[in-house]
Symmetry: none
Subunit: 129 residues, 4 copies
DNA sequence: GTGGTCTAGACCACT
DNA sequence: GTGGTCTAGACCACA
């Protein structure tokens, strides 16, 4: 299942859910148009308060990943959203820079780090549904 | 100076400080054995609550980046710390995976993402002091 | 047809219907005495839950826009309804005030906003059937 | 005071707060950089649950009207935010169109409606602090 | 049945 | 002291 939340993690539960859904969509586990479990359903399934689930869903809706239809439920967004790739590039670059900093302190040099990244990419591509 | 803290950012100020120092060390701006500014000094310099600086230093000490000698001050750690590279590998892989998820939602494919990473690495290497 | 309902919109579908009918009447597309499609008919035509259509018709009847004659169907109201213009004035003023607030946050000044309003009025008058 | 909320209104309390703050800012009652009352403070003052206030503040932050500084409080945004005036124009036009529809049903003709709008604008300008 | 709103009350991280 | 998160439990509007 794509929703494993660790209530003891320092990452807020609702964010774990948001990330989980984003990952599931990115991996193809959740496909466009697919119905999401209802707030209550998911809440009982993973024994999390419904309000917390709702908060996650609202955040996901703001990010354009899912959309809710009043009275009918919540669904993975159909149409590809418009993204600002320049913004994306800036954010990705920052994240990547952070990785290099972390890598340094774990005593990985640039070459090793690039190798590791390629390894992760290969694993990721195999995982795609 | 090597730290710019943005009080507007959603990242806690003390963490911005921690990251700033880690980056400065990684880039070679701060070198092993170098004296860090005192908490009080830094606090007035960047007009941040001293408690916040202290918390950042505490965290940096916990991570083994700096060390404090009572009465003498705080210094960038001399001896290379022992790190568990396996732990590091696990953490780096997770961060890299997250990048791939983010990249997907910004509509970057794997190839572009790898390219971007190599670009960032090259820029990083040039920046080294 | 004169109603386009967007199930994605945050405005409830039944209200979109109400507004659609009110607009059609105001524009002269629907004229006094004209027969409205039956709930059932409309429901299949625009694939909306009949209950939703019924709720919209109920609201329209409450507002005196349409009237139902049992066994004969639903019609756009014939006789001009009596309205409390003072109430109307109050409501319109409040709506207009809200527009000024929104305009401010979109960085339109009063003059521009009035100009825009006049533009909308001219467009509206041309649209009349 | 700029926070009068009617718990019996059909408009959600948190939205009434959002609109109230937007109005106060537009009128100049709240000025850039000014400190907002703390969530708890406002909650006790207007006897509304703190969570509800927090929700309103979060929405206002998303809209760029206010900004929060961790541990210090919430403030009216300093720098003018970048807005998409084209989007604004579209939204304002739609709101204005709705006014014309409402006006029709209250039996105001275009001329009267424009007159009323100008009246509201004049009153608005006088109200500015 | 679906999500949205609200309350009461608790705990925590940050400054 | 500040906002952020979470729970439990309730009520309501919408389809």
């Amino acid at each position: 299942m794509w929703f494993i939340v660790d209530p003891r993690s320092s990452i807020p539960i609702y964010l774990q859910l948001v990330n989980g859904v984003k990952e599931a969509v990115a991996r193809g586990v959740l496909v466009a148009g697919e119905k999401m479990p209802s707030v209550r359903e998911l809440a009982t399934q993973i024994t999390i308060n419904p309000n917390t689930i709702a908060k996650a869903y609202q955040e996901l809706e703001r990010e354009g990943i899912i959309e809710t239809f009043r009275g009918r439920g919540t669904f993975v967004t159909q149409k590809k959203k418009e993204v600002n790739r320049e913004d994306g590039k800036r954010i990705l670059k920052m994240l990547m820079r952070n990785i290099l900093i972390e890598a340094y302190h774990f005593q990985f040099d640039s070459e090793e780090t690039v190798g590791l990244f390629q390894e992760v990419v290969r694993a990721w591509e195999k995982e795609q549904v």
